[in-house]
């Protein structure tokens, strides 16, 4: 067995372990429904869009500033 496939096997085993742990602690109320029907991805998509928009805006300001800096020199 190659080292990489060993790592993958161990990783998968660990993943199984965490899912079983996850199943044990369902007494605390969490947003499991949102996760099971996949609506959480909509929230993530909205937040990522806002983040990308903000970064694009800051990046534009940065580029504009660099142009002005070049002119000043």
């Amino acid at each position: 067995m190659k080292t990489s496939s060993k790592i993958i096997t161990v990783f998968l085993l660990m993943l199984c372990l965490t899912t079983s742990l996850f199943a044990q602690q369902t007494d605390v109320e969490m947003a499991d429904t949102m996760r099971s029907n996949g609506k959480i991805y909509i929230v993530v998509a909205v937040c990522l869009t806002i983040l990308a928009g903000l970064f694009f805006y800051v990046w534009r300001i940065d580029r504009k500033l660099s142009e002005i800096e070049k002119q000043e020199q």
């Binding site: 965490t18 983040l51 970064f55």
Partner: protein, 237 residues
């Protein structure tokens, strides 16, 4: 674009923060429930604020050593970026309080307002607020730079006293690390914070801090252009 690798790092880390922060597994805790995810946003704001104030503190000391007005501009804008993150941390804290401590824990609003961290974080931020008032009250730029650099050192020290020391030694703090809990800094203590949270929390802190640095540098570069005539006439000691 100058030195853009850390700007891209900030973007990537914050994309990871939002994606991992919402989708990865978190500890199932009563009262907190899903709001534990606020750790990546609310707590990260305060961490970013502290780091930005530390950078401002560094430039204030450097100004007093070399009397270069550029250092004063750096100190001023890192302090204002720090304040931005501090105010955001405060507002997000208010939102978090209203669902967990007030609604779910059944605490009265007056009880929550007596929370030491809330009071002292406000004091700490107001001390930094006075830094900008002080700056605004000078007309002589060298005098302004010198006095505000000295004040900035005082404000930075007071920040540690008000935010990290007093709330942890007085009774009644609901924040982690308060008296009665394990003490210390829970976010930095490896035994205290869940490893699943740490996987997103530290990248989140770094991502938000780099964004803060980016915003600060934009303002610094703007002022370096507008103050160019002043910067050329002043001599370096």
């Amino acid at each position: 674009m100058t030195k853009s690798w850390w700007k891209i790092t900030s973007f990537v880390l914050l994309i990871y923060t939002v994606t991992g922060g919402f989708l990865l597994d978190v500890p199932r805790l009563p009262i907190l429930n899903e709001t534990i995810r606020n750790l990546y946003f609310h707590v990260a704001m305060w961490f970013a604020m502290t780091i930005l104030f530390s950078i401002s503190f560094f430039y204030s000391i450097r100004y007093l050593r070399r009397f270069d007005l550029r250092d004063d501009i750096f100190a001023r804008h890192f302090a204002s970026a720090g304040c931005l993150f501090g105010i955001l941390g405060y507002i997000t804290g208010f939102i978090w309080v209203s669902v967990t401590w007030v609604a779910d824990q059944g605490q009265s609003l007056s009880g929550v307002i007596r929370e030491p961290k809330l009071i002292f974080a406000a004091i700490g931020l107001l001390i930094y607020g006075a830094y900008f008032v002080l700056r605004g009250s000078f007309t002589d730029i060298d005098k302004r730079a010198k006095t505000s650099a000295v004040y900035s050192i005082f404000a930075y020290v007071m920040l540690f006293v008000t935010m990290f020391i007093i709330p942890r030694i007085v009774e009644g703090s609901l924040h982690p690390g308060g008296k009665g809990g394990q003490g210390g800094n829970p976010a930095l203590n490896f035994k205290d914070i869940d490893s699943r949270l740490r996987m997103v929390f530290y990248p989140a802190v770094l991502g938000w801090t780099l964004l803060g640095v980016w915003i600060a540098t934009l303002r610094i570069r703007t002022q370096l252009i507008t103050d160019k005539p002043l910067l050329h006439t002043t001599h370096k000691n």
